[in-house]
Amino acid sequence: MQLLKAYAHDFWRYRYLLQNLIGRDFKLKYRRSVLGVAWSVLNPLLMNIVMVVVFSTILDMRGSGIKNFPVYLLIGQLLFSFFTEGTSSAMGSMLGAAPLIKKVYIPKYIFPLERVCFAMVNCLFSFIALILMMILTGAELHATVFLALYPLVTLFLFTLGVGLMLAAATVFFRDVMHLWGVFTTALMYFSAIFYDPLQMGSFTVGGTELNVSQVIRFNPLYWYITGFRATVLDGTGLTWSMVWICGLCAVLALALGLIVFRRQQDKFVLHI
């Protein structure tokens, strides 16, 4: 509790720095690009079109029963890319902040937090693409859409927690960056982004038969994505298991992240 209080105090004191750092990233990202912020919308939209074409014509993996496949796919893409962007940029954040933290005292967790916030800002912009796609495909708007805030907020906290752990680990071992890239690529295929796990069959590993829809339950991202789809696309609201799994994963990841990060942070400056 005391730990949280200290974090909250720092957070309040350095909120403008956080704001300015996010502003800086934003400016630098879009400086000198003609379309600027529009890319946040265009990029996922174009990616989505490519993937829809690929998965519904060339590789037919869409199964048959997915209602509104483009939107289903886009939700998966957006949330998953928030997670990968957030974690991988948070991972390098301490190294990136090296010139700064070698000269001034700043609470270190500001940097991973800033990166995850920036990823979230991008993600929110790209929701414009989602809205466009929903209009284009004539998707219904449900009242449950407001509930989408829950998977979104818990996903943010989950990403932050994972990002903090990765940031701390990367300071000591740069290998983590490469490993994480491979891991997220593998994870992508197990997050039900472009298929419905219920319609997938089973596969065997070393003689035991595993069911895709069973295995995928161990992937927290699956729950965030499914929860978001349930509220935005299906209009069914959140099931209990969605609520508690999303919440629990977020709390656990964040707690672990804060503990690991806090324990190591005084050593960072000597290793970067």
Binding site: L17, N20, R24, L28, V104, L270
Partner: protein, 262 residues
């Protein structure tokens, strides 16, 4: 009242011969039993007290631990042993323009650096003209910092850092970059701050400047306090070191000549 209290501070660095930055290297080294660190004390049992309103100088040869001590006082490093207490707000000028982003313009950097130092955007906006005025770089405000000269960057950095009235100002060789006009201006600004009650801890290699500006001086040698006291006294002793070193060098230079004669 003591504004800065440094009590028996030691700082140990692990000078890894090779830094193991990847797992493979680390494991290889661990397996081969090569994972030794050379322990190195940058500071040993250093104590220092700076009173309110004092202008304290810190001198010493390269690598004697001055910057390390300032970083410990400003919280960048945690000391291996000992403790540090600073009363009141602290403006650390370990290097001017910490957190400047070379791709951003000076205007944007003023806000960024200001918030790094803990100022609010509103305060920076109020003081913006004052900052720009002092740095004399109004015409370059919307130029990215990468197109600045290093002295110009330092000007902006100094202007931002001294626009507040910090209780403690910590400055590491910051006056050496600017041209002589700006140096005078900086000294003037520091005196102004002092008269407003700010305590200053200054590292400089310009002994003349230290003697002129400081009340008291501490001389660090290889991580230990060699001497601490009035500015005149310590600076004189430090200068004497110069002569000693020079004569030692002369002696060393003579020897090989003598050898050759035989």
């Amino acid at each position: 009242m003591n504004m800065i209290e440094v009590n028996n501070v030691s700082m140990r660095f692990n000078m890894a011969k090779e830094k193991h930055e990847s797992l493979k290297e680390y494991f290889l080294a661990a397996v081969q039993g090569k994972l030794q660190f050379e322990e190195f004390y940058a500071l040993r049992d250093v104590s220092l007290k700076v009173e309110k309103g004092e202008f304290h100088g810190l001198i010493g040869l390269n690598g004697s631990g001055k910057s390390t001590l300032l970083k410990i006082i400003s919280g960048v490093f945690k000391p291996t042993a000992g403790s540090v207490t600073v009363h009141g707000s602290i403006a650390p000028l370990i290097e001017l323009g910490a957190g400047f982003d070379m791709d951003l313009t000076a205007r944007e950097n003023i806000f960024l650096n200001g918030t790094v130092l803990g100022l609010t955007p509103q305060y920076i906006r109020e003081k913006f003209d004052e900052i720009v005025e002092f740095s004399e770089l109004r015409d370059f405000l919307d130029v990215p910092l990468k197109n600045y000269s290093s002295g110009m960057v330092a000007r902006i950095g100094f202007s931002i850092a001294t626009v507040t009235k910090p209780d403690v100002l910590i400055a590491d060789e910051i006056l050496s970059v600017g041209d002589f006009m700006f140096q005078e201006k900086c000294e003037e600004r520091m005196r102004q701050l002092m008269s407003g009650g700010t305590t200053v801890l200054l590292v400089s290699h310009s002994i003349g400047q230290v003697e002129r500006m400081c009340d008291r001086v501490t001389w660090l040698e290889k991580g230990r306090v060699r001497m601490s006291g009035g500015a005149r006294e310590v600076c004189d002793a430090y200068r004497a070191l110069d002569e000693q070193a020079a004569s030692a060098q002369r002696a060393a230079a003579k020897k090989p000549m003598e050898v050759k004669k035989d």
